[in-house]
Amino acid sequence: MIASITMVLAVLAGILVVIVVRGASALNLSMLVQTPQGGYYLGKEGGIANAIVGSLCLAFGATLLSFLLGLPIAFALQKEYIGRRLAQITRLSLDILWGTPSIVYGAFGFIIMVYLGLRASLLGGIIALTLLILPIMIRSIEEIIRMTPLELKEASYAMGATRIETTLKVILRQALPGMVTGVLLAFGRGIGDAASVLFTTGYTDYIPRSLLDPVASLPLAVFFQVATPIPEVQQRAYASALVLLIIVLLISIVSRLLSHRYSRHIVR
């Protein structure tokens, strides 16, 4: 027990130490606010603002889209709405999709883009990322909804509330704090994924101006920079990874606060 906890903590600490030690020295304000200038990838002036903005756009877009698609699906999976068998089959499919490697989503997203006549763009990336995080979104929200105590639903039904009223006015509010965690999980997976955006977003030194522009992302920024032989650029790769980590950490903190705020109303 203690050994396994120690191991987990050691791995986490190891990753943090390596990234902070290697990345912190290269991290400065200009790196956060500037886009790459000429010769950036050879160790000259510039920053990764393009990748930061790009990743945020991609992850927020995909999280929003998959939430809007996923929430009704998560509710529809409850036994009030569909039969147990169909729900089980759907859950199983979602679990398989959850385990599918993200490069598959990248390739699949690429096929969809070609079909729609899209080029490598922010929109294409959002579509691929949405496919990737939708199963995570649905399954985690759905688990939370299923945890709603039967007695609470009974209380609502016993007052003559309909299925829809119970869902929207009671279960949704009860599940809200937990749902925030599910959304965060999906966001974290989305912002950190490199393979699904590899074919679908392209890569650019500029900040995107429309959904149809190609867009840079932090995971790919890390990937390209760490692959160069120049030590300064490699250091910047670690700094980029650090930025990515900090974003995920901030989102995590915000979601905890929100979740705590909403859970004032909840009786377990």
């Binding site: 036994k79 147990r84 105590p149 039967l150 007695e151 609470l152 639903k153 009974e154 209380a155 609502s156 039904y157 016993a158 007052m159 003559g160 509330a161 309909t162 009223e165 006015k169 009671v170 509010r173 009860q174 809200l176 004032r264 109303h265 909840i266 009786v267």
Partner: protein, 282 residues
């Protein structure tokens, strides 16, 4: 004529029979207590009366449950009207995830009560139980003013009716989850009353509560019985003796004996009833 009348009611979960051939009339404006050992079908019987059993998988209900003459298991019966007429208190109170105030207004809101309906309801209520009779120290001016705000008035009225008003009047907009469990149960009572039921079902309503809160709930139920038909499930024999006017005794899914409380406890007819009352079986 009694509100509720059961004939040959049989309930089964899958292949397991839970209730067999229950035939009984539940008297109006009294507290009917359903007693019996755990797992003998008390709660199931209670939940067939407002069709909450519909929520369970593989449940089969046969026979008739008539409320005001209409069979509630008739396919044409209106489920929402039934549940509006029959209020329900569960074993452990679950406040809805919203404020105290909104817990009370939830019922009127889902039933889309407009100003006129609310005013009608208030007039009817006042005829039966005037709000002044619910105030131990006489009513204060501020609350009198609230009669112009129908919802606020209703909230106060039902909270008083459930004996909770004085404890929450300062924090109506606080989350209901912050109340103590005893207060939550009285809130659940107020919330159920706000739908204007004629019948109140209570499933071991005091089993999760401390003795003081339990006593309060019992007291409220006794106050309410003049205006509502009340059915309470309990496995506490002493509680049954305290509150029952009429007793239904179930044993292993079978209706063993029923009758007025006095007769039931003093001269039981069935051997099993005698054994249960004397504590030989439980």
């Amino acid at each position: 004529m009694p509100h509720i009348s059961l004939s040959n009611l049989r309930v089964a979960y899958g292949n397991q029979k839970v209730l067999q051939d229950i035939t009984v009339d539940i008297p109006n404006n009294q507290i009917t207590v359903i007693i019996g050992p755990s797992g003998c079908g008390k709660t199931t019987l209670l939940k067939t009366l407002n069709r909450l059993v519909d929520l369970y998988d593989e449940i089969r209900v046969e026979g008739e449950v008539r409320i005001d003459g209409a069979d509630i298991y008739d396919p044409k019966a209106d489920l929402l009207t039934l549940r509006k007429k029959v209020g329900f208190l569960s074993q452990k109170p679950y406040p809805l995830p919203m404020s105290i105030h909104d817990n009370i207004t939830f019922g009127p809101r889902i039933h889309r009560m407009n100003r006129k309906k609310l005013l009608d309801q208030i007039r009817k209520l006042e005829k039966h139980i005037p709000i002044d009779s619910l105030c131990p120290n006489g009513r204060q001016e501020e609350t009198r003013a609230s009669k112009t705000h129908e919802m606020a008035y209703l909230v106060e009225y039902y909270l008083r009716l459930a004996g909770l008003w004085e404890e929450v009047r300062e924090r109506l907009h606080a989350p209901a989850a912050q109340l103590s469990i005893g207060q939550q149960q009285r809130l659940a009572l107020a919330r159920a009353l706000a739908v204007q039921p004629e019948v109140i079902l209570a499933d071991e309503p005091t089993s999760a509560l401390d003795p003081v809160s339990a006593q309060l709930i019992e007291k409220q139920l006794k106050t309410l019985k003049d205006h509502y038909t009340i059915v309470v499930v309990t496995h506490i024999l002493r509680q049954a003796r305290r509150i029952a006017d009429y007793v239904i005794f179930l044993y292993l899914g079978e209706l063993v004996e029923h009758g007025p409380a006095e007769q039931f406890f003093s001269s039981p007819r069935d051997e099993r009833t005698r054994a249960y009352i004397s504590g030989e079986i439980s």
